[in-house]
Symmetry: C2
Subunit: 322 residues, 2 copies
Amino acid sequence: MSQQPFQTVAVVGAGLVGLGWAIVFARAGLEVRIFDSQLDTRRDALQRIRNSLTDMKHHGLVDDVEVITNRIRISGSLDDAVGAADYIQESVLERTDVKTTVCEQISKAMRSDAICGSSTSGIPASQFTADLSKRDRFLVVHPVNPPHLIPLVELVAAPWTDQAIIPVVREEMKRIGQSPIVINAEVDGFVLNRLQGALLNEAWALFEDGVASLADIDAAVSHGLGRRWSFMGPFETIDLNAPGGIADYARRLAPLYHSIAASRVAKPWPNDVISRAEGERREVLSRENLVDRSAWRDQRLMALTAALSEIDHGSPSDRDNP
Amino acid sequence: MSQQPFQTVAVVGAGLVGLGWAIVFARAGLEVRIFDSQLDTRRDALQRIRNSLTDMKHHGLVDDVEVITNRIRISGSLDDAVGAADYIQESVLERTDVKTTVCEQISKAMRSDAICGSSTSGIPASQFTADLSKRDRFLVVHPVNPPHLIPLVELVAAPWTDQAIIPVVREEMKRIGQSPIVINAEVDGFVLNRLQGALLNEAWALFEDGVASLADIDAAVSHGLGRRWSFMGPFETIDLNAPGGIADYARRLAPLYHSIAASRVAKPWPNDVISRAEGERREVLSRENLVDRSAWRDQRLMALTAALSEIDHGSPSDRDNP
């Protein structure tokens, strides 16, 4: 019954995103079944989850690694994983043909009252669910990577998605500790990547024009804008940045921002500029160290999550006691 | 001697920005003189600084409120504040005519080897320093509000600024705990507000088109993008978001971001959309509560600063022991 709280969920695809989802669900007390078509990916999944949970415990984000891991089972077939699930999170390769094939299998195996969310970051559900017999039960439920450390999820319906399931998924995502937002149209990049893209396009153009170095543009965000944006969105930020609130701010500054935007012509990121950017990045971080630095990023996100949670709620580990 | 570390600094203009600067300087151990042309603003300045420092002490960001406050003196005249200073931070009203008049007075009163930085967020130094006798000693040193809680500062020279003072100011800003970046051209909005503007323009357009609610667009940043951007810039973020680093990411995703940008026509923020946005904001935060919420923002920034500092360095209160 999809109007009941989700109790049993399936994760199809056990890459980074799928395993992050498994942690999100199990941390919230749900029973999780994971399927991946690759045998070695399936075999390693539980150990990789245990490693992530151990890191999280170190930051006070979960209490008991084994209790949470014990809620997760690896299934030997897609049918076994999906058959009993109230909710299915599809997290396979980001290719329309692959999503189409896997969602066909999910549609056949799932209960008629179950819901399937796709983790796709950029392919609208209408491009791979049109021919499914249960297509009204499918939508995009796009997380930010890694889902167990960044709570935002974007909900995007296809034209044929049953509108009644949107509020259900929204409530359930909230209940399990995520921050769902509803996107009302299948626009390219949804909302999160459109916002990221707008900032990235300006950042690339400033770098191309030599206005500042790559490292200094990065610092403008990490030591400036990002400090506010880690707990307030752009609208709340400007609402608090003028004595009379957002309309007052807009009256004062819209002309400046419009002239900035009007003077910037959208253009592809040129190859020579990409090469120059890569050169600057590889000077501060060698290619071999990318993996270590990604681990550092996740440690930093865990510490930040713990800190933000403590600011808001007192103890950061409340979350795994739903 | 400007090549020596700054020891005595002047702050001209004792509004929010000026007082924030006074805290930054005094926290780092410098002697600070403040001048403001308004008598009651001068009179209240020390108490307002003491209040901010007391908040900061509560978050473990400073050790001793009185030791820091005792480094700050209120001057009865601009000449008295500026005359002995190694460095002057101009923080008066954001109007070209006001900046021109005040900088003329500063230029006359300052030592010939002193440096004057302007806090302007949007007026290039060339628009108000052209006729000063010491114009080669002036540049923009733009902080983010409030400067004692957000470390970024943008350094922007006028065409006639002595290039030798840029590295001096950069080093001194670092030494006192700020994060300086160098902007190589007097572009509208410098770097920080161009990046903010790019994201804001997209956010307004998404809201205008009904793609998502104001609150959901805010959440996409505060519960998504901003979590990473509070400690990594946009380039480092994408460098870690593809197996082969930034060039790999650019090859995969530049076409998507370019098509997003190309489909977005720059346009002014329409008045009816601003009114609608104000309506949504005033529903969640009444006009009377704007001031309280701004205080909440500053508390949150203090807690975040303490947390980030602890993650990086151990104790957050090391900073006031330079």
